[in-house]
Symmetry: C2
């Protein structure tokens, strides 16, 4: 890889496993590894994709630069005739949020999923060639999570065979859609369908927003950018927008009519296509987000791990070098669980990918039986993995001490660009409440003909789980998968049952659900943690080639589980799944696992196979030459263009010379 002398070579030599084999495990297959590596290096080696200057650019410059990169990326994609997989990886490695994310990730899929055959034939070729650029206009200034509360209206006018799209209030302004503010020519607009004064609920419509000739907003349309967001660079490359309609007319055939239709006569008709298909799309999108969580966390962990091996502080003996901070147990106890989480999220993401395929096959066969469970499960995993990742990136930043606060560490931007994931595609708390609702329902149906399926199957063994007492007697017992699974299943089941029992004390169930919602969220989290632990264990039961690879993953799996056990010890103890002594034994085992992982830490983050370009961090550079790079980076700041800063004559000199009285300030 990049760099001169490899400062981290001694660390790499310590590794007790085959890093190349681990790279394949992380990538998912040698094919994906090969393609990813090829595309990542294509991007990394092209100066047009430089991104280290992003935090220093003002908003306009930053945005214009994103427009350039997006156009250039598309040019390269067509020149090199990249296939869909390669093109999408290229956009990933360019690593700059842009209107194209929404065009490819939301606009095109929405037409595919909700458009009729004719609509797809009309719109998809235009979108595929980017002759039109689309975004996804759902949320409004006053309405986010509650889609059913949207205020924008689409009123059918039978005289002209058109819909009239209108923003009746300030709070009905479309607000947040990415790509909307300055770029998109079209949008999928969600609006209340009104026919003859009757409200048929929220439906999707394709609306043209800007002229394809001069890019000016069409009559009746007001569009703008909603302003700066958290962080330097980060998501400010995106033109999240505001949009208001003043009685804008669109043809009737621009309502997305795969599921519901409006006829020429103004009759509202449900098609034979099942509404549940929408949930299939949600499963897909959220599965992508889980996969993205593992990548984002892996970047932060890679930076913090490498820097922790370079950084030395305290512990010098007789003038020798100080101790590497990665050797401090406090550092390990914060860093290694995040390393383990990155791997855990990777594997649960892989499994969700399988689940999506399974769900879609069943849907096409008319089998909706697993859908509620699959939907709850992806919602919960989206919530859990993104919350942990957001906090984990910030924890990694803190693990880098003072220097983590510099933009050149890459961590501030990674954090700022990542955190919206906790809110979009379902607010993380709202999602866990959906999971909880599903769990309570599952419990209420126990004993009926409806058996719990998939990730809730353990409720089928509820009686046994309510009796469960861990039989751990020594620390190493905690390394056994069944011991861990038993404790996590019993804890999750008992948390759900306890809150279900409390709920039953309320005469009004909805009131009870409100009152106990914080407990419900905790039960849902316990359930989701069990899923991740069990999928990690399942992964370990497959064939994993490569010297020492499986052993490393076993250690990481144990760290992931035992760290959670420590963190949620109150759950495990109060539900009586384990004793305090067993808790102490778990902590003891955890300390020993940290020592086992320590020599492999650098190799375990090397296995993520991130290029220096993609990491974008002087602290995390592959060769560990941190200090010269930090030093060099500093001088690039615009403030260093001048030795004596702009403003000296007006503001500093008069201050020093006691001449402020007459100064104009």
């Amino acid at each position: 890889m990049e760099g001169s002398v490899d400062q981290l070579a001694p660390e790499r030599n310590k590794a007790e496993f085959d890093v190349d084999a681990m790279k394949i495990v992380w990538a998912g297959s040698s094919h994906v590894l090969e393609v990813s590596e090829r595309i990542a290096h294509l991007v990394a080696s092209d100066p047009a994709f430089r991104k280290d200057n992003r935090p220093m650019l003002g908003r306009k410059e930053l945005f214009k630069n994103t427009l350039r990169k997006a156009a250039y990326a598309w040019k390269r994609i067509t020149e090199l005739r990249l296939n869909e997989e390669e093109a999408s990886l290229l956009r990933v490695f360019v690593d700059e949020a842009a209107f194209t994310d929404l065009h490819w990730g939301m606009f095109v899929p929405a037409i595919k999923g909700q458009g009729t055959e004719e609509q797809q034939q009309k719109w998809l070729p235009l979108a595929h060639k980017m002759q039109i650029i689309g975004c996804y206009a759902q949320t409004e200034l006053g309405h986010g999570s509650n889609v059913q509360g949207l205020e924008t209206t689409a009123t059918f006018d039978p005289k002209t065979d058109e819909f009239v799209i209108h923003s009746p209030t300030l709070t009905s302004s479309k607000w947040w859609p990415g790509g909307l503010g300055k770029v998109s020519t079209h949008a999928i607009v969600y609006a209340r369908l009104i026919i003859d004064g009757q409200d048929y609920g929220v439906n999707g419509f394709i609306a043209q927003l800007r002229s394809l000739d001069d890019h000016l907003p069409l009559p009746g349309i007001t569009i703008g950018d909603i302003g700066m967001k958290f962080g330097n660079g980060a998501y400010n490359t995106m033109d999240n927008g505001v949009l208001r309609f003043n009685n804008v007319r669109i043809p009737r055939d621009q309502m997305l009519m795969r599921v519901s239709q409006v006829t020429r006569e103004g009759k509202f008709v449900q098609s034979s296509v099942p509404r549940q298909l929408v949930y299939g799309t949600m499963v897909f999108v959220r599965q992508t987000i889980v996969a993205g969580a593992s990548v984002a966390l892996s970047r932060a962990v890679c930076i913090a791990t490498r820097y922790s091996a370079v950084r030395r502080q305290f512990g010098s003996r007789n003038g020798g070098p100080e101790t590497q901070v990665i050797d401090y147990k406090t550092q390990q106890a914060r860093l290694f669980p995040l390393l383990a989480s990155a791997y855990a999220f990777r594997f649960v993401g892989e499994w969700l990918n399988w689940l999506y395929t399974d769900v879609m096959q069943r849907l096409q066969a008319g089998d909706f039986s697993t859908l509620p469970e699959a939907h709850a499960c992806t919602a919960g995993l989206k919530s859990l993995t993104t919350s942990v990742t957001a906090d984990g990136i910030e924890e990694c930043r803190k693990l880098c001490g003072g220097h983590g606060y510099l933009c050149s560490s890459g961590l501030p931007e990674l954090f700022a660009a990542y955190v919206p994931t906790c809110t979009y595609e379902g607010d993380n708390v709202v999602l866990q409440l959906q999971v909880a609702r599903h769990l309570i329902k599952t419990i209420s149906q126990l004993g009926s003909a409806k058996k719990p399926v998939g990730t809730t199957a353990y409720f089928g063994r509820l009686e046994q789980l309510m009796q469960y007492h861990s039989d751990v007697q020594k620390a190493e017992d905690w390394l056994k998968p069944n011991v861990v699974l038993g404790a996590f299943e019993a804890r999750a089941a008992r948390k759900s049952v306890a809150v279900a029992q409390n709920l039953s004390k309320f005469s009004n169930p909805e009131e009870g659900f409100q009152e106990l919602s914080a407990d419900l969220v905790e039960a849902a989290v316990a359930h989701c943690q069990l899923i991740i632990v069990s999928k990690f264990i399942e992964k370990l039961q497959t064939d994993i080639p490569g010297k020492g690879v499986k052993q490393q993953l076993e250690s990481l799996c144990s760290i992931y589980a035992l760290f959670l056990l420590h963190k949620h010890l109150g759950d495990f103890l109060s539900t009586g799944c384990i004793t305090p002594e067993q808790g102490y034994l778990a902590d003891e085992q955890l300390r020993s696992l940290y020592s086992q992982v320590r020599p492999n830490a650098i190799a375990l983050v090397d296995a993520f196979n991130h290029t220096d370009h993609y990491l974008g961090s002087v602290l995390g550079c592959y060769d560990g030459n941190v200090y010269p790079k930090l030093y060099a980076e500093a001088w690039k700041d615009p403030l260093n263009d001048l030795v004596v800063p702009d403003g000296y004559q007006e503001y500093i000199r008069p201050l020093l010379k006691q001449q402020l009285r007459n100064a104009r300030l």
Copy 2:
């Protein structure tokens, strides 16, 4: 206050206590309330102190604007003849990190604390008039927490009676000092004192960095800014700097000689002034940081609370308004503990202020007996309150949903500007390890003549605490101060004793300390939480006038304690202080407390008395007119200067028109 129709009036009318009386409690006295209010409004009403445009400014513009504000603030301070208290409050309310913070907060105090009488007479008048501007150059590129590891040297040259300051390596470059990069003319430089080849450890020196004529760096000195830091605006108004010395000579009398001296002959002499004075300064600085934590957290909580009362989502019945999100239990369970923490930190900060006075009086009387305990206690409280505040600000941002991600919410900048507090003046983990060391020492001395004092006095009742079992039988029992104190004391004592026992199993104590450091940190945190709970309870035992004020504070104190009990339930259960049933009863009481606080929430954040200017948040504005302000704020973004964005001709149009092939990108 500001604004037109008060959207939050219905909320304010619900309050069950005297808000004006609470304002005095929060401020500390009616005098402080009066001065703060006067100065806050002085700043808020002066357009020269406008700060809403900060996130949009590029680095140079931003920095120049800070220079202007600093000069203008000084002009106003002198014109209005503000006293020291007023001047310092004015800088607080201007709310923009600047070189003046270091000049007044570190440079001047360092000369006062470490300079001899003559040095003070020479340098302080210059500094007080700002005829020189100083900073505090301690940390280096390779050295942060470990001050003893600094590499910069100050070698005494007996021939010329000078010190030669030198940066021998890249990692010895001074790195991070605020105000250094572009403004300071002088610095307190920490360097290893070398006399005749012998190293006398790290000492402070006054070095001139820039010419007072033209501001150019003096010969042999290289200075620059270290580059962009986390966030928009935020700490980028500060010129954190890098500084290298190439054999720069300063006169011998510029070593700060209050504690150690170098004579004309090159003899190193310790003065009679006790070294412990240095700890007095640390107690002072960290006490200020704790007070600052309560303010920063109160700002975030104020924004999130007001917005939660304005924002409505879900729960509409028959087309009526949706539910205020503050009425959701999940929102309350995240928000109200932070509200309680802000008050808790306020009172512990007040107490620390008393502690500092007490320590200084004792020091002057030659009594060093309470110093180690006071030092440990302030270190631990600095660590705990700043960590909770940093996380709390981000939690408040998430509690504001999507809109919290906009800079106009004020929360991104508040967070980004706050987080370095977790690292500077002692990394938070390193500090808790110092606390732990003190606790272990305290335990080891039990039974000796050395009695535990101050916040460790409870170890004097160790036998009793090891026997403790909570006698809670019903939820309301948890409202009794003694019940809460008993459980927190027993938990803290047992955590410390458990780790002390584990330590004793190691033949090498230092090795044991390393191995068990994560447990030691947990014991230290438990101890610090006990301090905060007990100081809150002590506060409630004083006379607190005003209708309903004490009752509200009692609720907040209970919420603070019971929330911690819930969060650390594993501790309380595994140490056997409480039973699982008693844990459930605490949760039940907590839910009931949330309901009691709910109608008072807006009034409780009004009591912080923040102006809209100081809050800097459209979501947190006093009158609750959130949506029109959000909408108006969006249009101020530079991207909205043009309807068709810059870059359309070069990058968007060729894309849409399929003309990229020949485009120059």
